[in-house]
Structure formats: C-alpha cells, structure tokens
C-alpha cells in the first residue's frame, strides 16, 4: 500500500511536469487563431483591416465580400458557364508555363477542391479573394488581375462557377489535390516533385542536369514573385500542428501577417485531401505504427504479468 502511495506521488509530479512543458507551454507560445471552417465570407479579412486601422480598406473589403455573397445566390447556368470557361483555358491548362511569377493552376478538379464562394471571389478580384491585396498597389497587377476586366458580369461569373462545380469535380486523388492546390509553389522532395511536377528519371546525366536547371529557373521566378522560395512541404505535417495547418491554409494572414502566400480557397473536403497527402508523404509510418503498436503493448502487458508472478514466487516467505 505504501508503495502505491509513493507511486501515486511520482505519477502526479510527472503528469504535472508534462502538463507544464507540453500543453500549457504550447498554449502560451502560439497565439490562438479561430478558424472559419473553410467558409470564405471575408470575415477575417475585414477584421484584419479594421485592426490595422485601415478603415477605407475595411469598407472596400466589406463591399467586396457582400458582392460575392450576392453573386453566390444567383443561379448559374452550366451550359453557359462552359462557354465562359473558354476564357480561362488559355492559361489554366495541363503543362502550363509560368505567367507573372507562377504557373496558372490546373482546374481539372476545381469544383471538388475549392469552395464555391472563393471561386466567385477569385474571378471578381483575385488579390482580394486570396487576401494578398497588400502586395499590389492596384489589384489589377495581380497575375490574374486582368480577369476583372474580362469577366465583369455577375451572371457570367455565376455560370462559370456553376460549370466548375458541376463538371470539374469528380473523384480526386490525394496527390492530385496537392498537386493542383499547392505544388506550383511548393516542392515536395520526399515525393520527388518540384514546381514543375514529378521529377522524371533520365538515362543520361546531361538530361538530369538540364531538368534541374529548368526547375531552378522556375523556382527563381516563383522566388522573385513571392519574395522567397516557398518551403518544401515534405514533412510540414510534423513541423506544424494540425490546428496551425488548418487555419493557415484557410487564411495565411491569420498566422503569418503580411505573408505573400495567397489563400488558396480549399473547401473542407479539399483540405482533407491535401492533408491526407501531406500525411502520406510526411508521416509514412502512421499505418505501420497503428499496426504494430497494440501488439508490442500487449506483449509488455503479458511480460509484466509474468514478471509479477515471478516476483511473487521469489519473494514468498520473505515477509
């Protein structure tokens, strides 16, 4: 009984120690950011402008997101949207080239990955939608800024978004999700991908080096546009907490004010896919751990039980 009391004291001190250096310390070290559940209504954007005492900007953002909400209520015509989408295809295609700093994303699964509200906002004003308008004196200078002039009609925007949601959806693999949403800026060397996609294997070193140069050229363009080369995301899943990733992807400004990373507008389902891929690459032992863990622990429970019986037999008659 006395031993159990001593064990209790040791256990309590150990747990208090753990609480202090882990959950408590981390709660104090990182500012708490409230997510918005991957709903894009400009709430955080307006709040940020207000906190920075930029009233005019806050008003502009309020008007912008109110407008987005209005468009989202318009019923879009998928067939008309398909015609409108022709405007997009000039830039958004498989194997696209760098335009103004980045390669325009492939939109094959846009409807499955991105939120409808975000897509509307993006067509209305890309810099405002992705909450990086602080980077542009005039949001028209955003690489996709000219879309504002090309697609100004609310009905047309509603049509194109309706088309994306209906026809550019379907099953999307975790890798496709990551590639379409993240990989034109972020390399993932543990998955052997760069800003130019999967790294091919070449027979001759000359070709390997030539590809490497292409990658460096592309990275330099991204670097010039973003201010620094966006980090490789191979094991970002272990370098950042779950909550950080979620709120950061939803609104990068919330965690890193002033960052040049745009909001990419993933829906909740879209983020789940991207998250799953980052886990596959960054934490590949997860399935093996879950497989082996119970067996090892069961082994030691049996081991301890047998050890207890041995101890009992050995100490018999000692007291």
């Amino acid at each position: 009984m006395k031993e159990l009391k001593i064990f209790g004291i040791v256990a309590i001190f150990t747990l208090v120690l753990y609480w202090g250096v882990e959950p408590f310390a981390h709660s104090q070290m990182h500012k708490h950011v409230e997510g918005n559940g991957f709903v894009y209504d400009g709430k955080a954007d307006i709040e940020e402008a207000k906190t920075a005492k930029k009233d005019e900007k806050a008003k502009a953002k309020e008007a912008f997101w109110a407008n987005v909400a209005k468009v989202s209520k318009i019923k879009g015509d998928v067939a008309a949207g398909e015609a409108g989408f022709a405007t997009c295809m000039g830039c958004h295609m498989e194997g696209g080239v760098n335009m103004g700093g980045v390669i325009p994303p492939v939109l094959d699964h846009a409807g499955a990955l991105y939120s409808k509200n975000y897509l509307i906002a993006l067509i209305k004003d890309p810099a405002m939608a992705s909450n990086v308008d602080h980077k542009y004196a005039d949001t028209m200078t955003h690489p996709m800024g000219s879309i504002k002039a090309m697609m100004a009609d609310d009905q047309q925007i509603a049509d194109v978004v309706a088309y994306l949601m209906a026809k550019k959806a379907g099953e999307v693999t975790t890798k496709e999700a990551f590639t379409e949403a993240c990989s034109r800026c972020h390399a993932m060397r543990y998955a052997k991908t760069t800003q130019l996609g999967d790294t091919p294997t070449f027979k001759y070193e000359k070709d390997t080096l030539a590809h490497k140069i292409k990658v460096i050229d592309e990275q330099n363009l991204v670097k010039a546009y973003m201010g620094k080369l966006p980090p490789d995301l191979s094991i970002i899943i272990r370098a950042r907490g779950h909550h950080f990733m979620e709120t950061f992807v939803e609104n990068p400004q919330s965690q890193l004010p002033g960052t040049s990373m745009p909001r990419v507008g993933l829906s909740h389902e879209g983020y789940e896919k991207v998250h799953a891929y980052m886990t596959e690459i960054g934490d590949p032992s997860k399935p093996a751990r879950e497989e082996l863990g119970p067996k090892v622990i069961l082994f030691f429970i049996i081991f301890t039980g047998l050890a207890f019986l041995w101890k009992k037999s050995r100490w018999k008659g000692h007291y």
Binding site: V10, L17, G20, Q28, M29, R238, I297
Partner: protein
C-alpha cells in the same frame, strides 16, 4: 602455469578459467541488497535498461545516418523514416528513450536526496551519479544536433555562444569549439563523434564506477538503517529469509526490478507508438537555416530548469548563476551537515527543503519554456531562480541545527 584438471561440463570448464562460480556469487547470488526498499530502488536497473535500448536503437540509426550538413536532415527524416524497414521505430524509440532517461534520472536523483543516500560513506555514489547526469546531458545535447533541423542549429548556436563568457567576449573559444564561425559541417561532425563514440564510452565507464561505488557502503534502505550485512547474509544463507534484513541481488531483487521494468516498458512503448511528439520537437522538422531564427528557442524539457536560471539575470550574472547551477548538485554531500541518514520526512527542516527544492525545480522547468516577454512569467522565473540559490545557501545551516536521530 596453473594446473588444470579435465572439466566435466562447459560450466566447470569456464569456472576453471574464469571463476564464473565466484563471479556469479559476488555479482549476483551473494550480492546483498537490503530488503526494506520500495520500487524506487528499481530505477537504477530501469536506467541501465533504458541506456541499453538507447545503445541498440542508436546502433541501428548509425547505420543510415549521414553526418554532413547537406545530407543529415534527409538521412534522418527521409531515409530512416521512409526507406529503412522499421527505421521509424528505431528513431522513435531513440527519441522517446532520450527523453525518458532524464525523467528516470531525475526520479533516481530525488529518491537519493529524499532518503539521504549521499551521506557519509556514500559520497562517491552520489558524485559518480552526478557525473553520469552531466555525461548524459552532454550526450543528449550532442545527439540533438544530429538531425540538423532548426532547433539543432539554433540550440547549437545558443549553447556554444555561452562559452564566450559574457563580458569576457571569448569568441576565439567559441570558434574553437565550433570549428567555424557558425555551426556548420565541422561542428556537426565533431558532435557526431562525441555522440556516437566518446561520450558513450565515458558513460559506460561511469556506469561501471557507479556500480563499483555501491559495493562497499551498500545500497541505502527506506529507513536509512545501518546494520551488519555479514550477519544478515549468514541468516539468509541459513534459510532464515524472513528474519534476515537482506536479499540477494539475483534472483530476488532482480525479480522485482524486472516487474518494475515491465510497467515502465508499457509506458515507454505507449509513448513510442502513440505519443512520441513530446520528445520530438516540431521545430526540428524544419531544416536548419542560419538566416531564419525560430520564434522561440528553448531546450528540451530536461534542461529547462537550468536554462531558466540563466535567463532572468543580466548577461554576466546569468552565466555565473548558470555555471553554479550546473555543479551545485555535486556539492550536496558536503553542504548537508547533518549526520542523519533517514527519509526527509523524519529530518525536521530538511523535509521542507526537499519539497521546496523539488517544486522550485519544476516551476523553473515550466518557466524555462514560456516566452520571457510575458512579465508575469519572467517574474515567476526570477523569483524561482533566486529561491534556488537561497535554498542551497540555507542547506548547511538548516542541516547543522537538525536534531540527531
């Protein structure tokens, strides 16, 4: 040469040449341990087992680790984690083991302080044990450099900077330790050497010494009772195990050790499989970048209390305080002036000293990780750091006036 008879068994053959029977008696069946002990007496063997696990897992990791600033990070995070079969298991075992070994060291240390196991005759047990603590600390620090992540780099930067001696500005010494102006390749390879060769060697040597120092004074017991071991041993050998105050190390003491180890291993592997993050700081999963200081730099939890003694003071005072804190525990047998070998609960003021010291070290540990920019935390840290020294200064006085039991 000595005369050898023909042996009738392998055991006998070995006994003729190595005296294994005598060895077995001396080290196991007639190595007498007091009976009046609790599970805390098993911490020594738990530590030995944990060290064994660290060595074995370390050997497996060593086969794939590449000590080169360009390769180290990926050899740990990609090669070992993705390509080597069960590499992740060995890495997580090594990481969790490195953290838990300090938890057990601290429990072991505070057990020794509580029961007065460092008193007259047992000073060398305490000193060699403290030597082990320092060697394990160096081992932990050098190992922390190896994945070459952000925390490796910046912890290396901060700790080696301490050697500039504050206002002494001994940057030459810092460069000599680093082998470069900043932590770089020369820094990584020398810490690699220390981690996988020199320090483990020192640790093994100190473990042997630590065991050796136990032999003559014998292990302490729950009441600090002094008794005649020879007499108690005779009683035991005569079959009066109930009356005897001792038990043989093997198999009686060992059977309890193994049971305690079993309980410990359940916790150990629970952490390895389901809760390893606490031992592997997320910041260290970002590759080392000398141009990007992390928002918070803090050591692993087991160094936090001494880090917090460094932080709240001015530069030079902080360094002096830090240096004293590193060695003050060595002085315990000499600062404790009371001859009483007894649990702290029976020792008057020392009882309060013990709990105050334990709680103070835990509070320092908490504060060591919190951002010093928060005034409340900074003040709690300062008060705890001052209390740490007040307690050590008070120790000789309160033990001097302690009543002899």
């Amino acid at each position: 040469m000595a005369h050898f008879e023909k042996a009738n068994s392998i055991g006998e053959w070995l006994d003729q040449r190595l005296a294994v029977e005598t060895l077995k008696k001396v080290m196991q069946t007639e190595y007498w341990i007091p009976k009046n002990i609790n599970f805390l007496w098993a911490m020594g063997m738990v530590l030995a087992a944990t060290f064994g696990i660290l060595v074995v897992s370390g050997i497996f990791l060593l086969m794939y680790y590449k000590p080169d600033t360009n390769l180290a990070f990926d050899s740990v995070n990609y090669t070992i984690m993705s390509e080597v079969g069960y590499g992740w298991l060995w890495r997580h075992v090594h990481g969790v083991g490195a953290s838990l070994v300090f938890l057990i060291i601290y429990i072991h240390m505070f057990t020794g302080i509580y029961y007065g196991s460092y008193k007259k005759g047992r000073e060398l047990i305490w000193l060699s044990g403290m030597g082990l603590f320092v060697a394990f600390s160096a081992e932990a620090f050098s190992g922390y450099m190896l994945p070459w992540g952000q925390m490796s780099y910046w912890a290396g930067m901060v700790i080696t900077n301490l050697f500039s001696g504050g206002s002494l500005e001994a940057y030459g010494l810092v460069e000599w330790i680093r082998g470069d102006y900043v932590p770089a390749d020369a820094f990584l390879t020398r810490f690699f050497m220390l981690h996988v060769f020199l320090l483990p060697l020192v640790i093994i040597g100190l473990i042997v010494l630590h065991f050796g120092t136990l032999r003559i004074p014998h292990v302490n017991n729950q009441d600090g009772e002094e008794f005649d071991y020879a007499e108690a041993a005779e009683l035991y050998k005569a079959g009066k195990v109930k009356e005897s105050k001792v038990i043989p190390f093997s198999p009686v003491f060992l059977s309890k050790d193994v049971f305690v180890m079993g309980v410990y291993f359940i916790l150990f592997f629970y952490l390895v499989f389901y809760h390893f993050e606490f031992a592997m700081d997320p910041v260290n999963f970002d590759p080392a970048d000398g141009l990007k200081t992390p928002a918070h730099i803090y050591p692993e939890w087991y160094f936090l209390w001494s880090y917090e003694i460094l932080r709240p003071f001015s530069k030079d005072l902080g360094l002096v305080a830090f240096a004293i804190a590193q060695v003050i525990f060595f002085m315990l047998p000499f600062l404790d002036r009371s001859p009483n070998v007894a649990p702290a609960s029976r020792r008057g003021l020392f009882k309060y000293w013990f709990w105050a010291m334990l709680i103070d070290v835990i509070v320092l540990t908490f504060m060591g990780k919190l951002p010093p920019t928060d005034a409340l935390f900074a003040n709690i840290g300062l008060v705890s750091a001052i209390l740490f020294f007040v307690l050590w200064i008070a120790l000789p006085f309160i033990t001097k006036i302690e009543k002899k039991l």
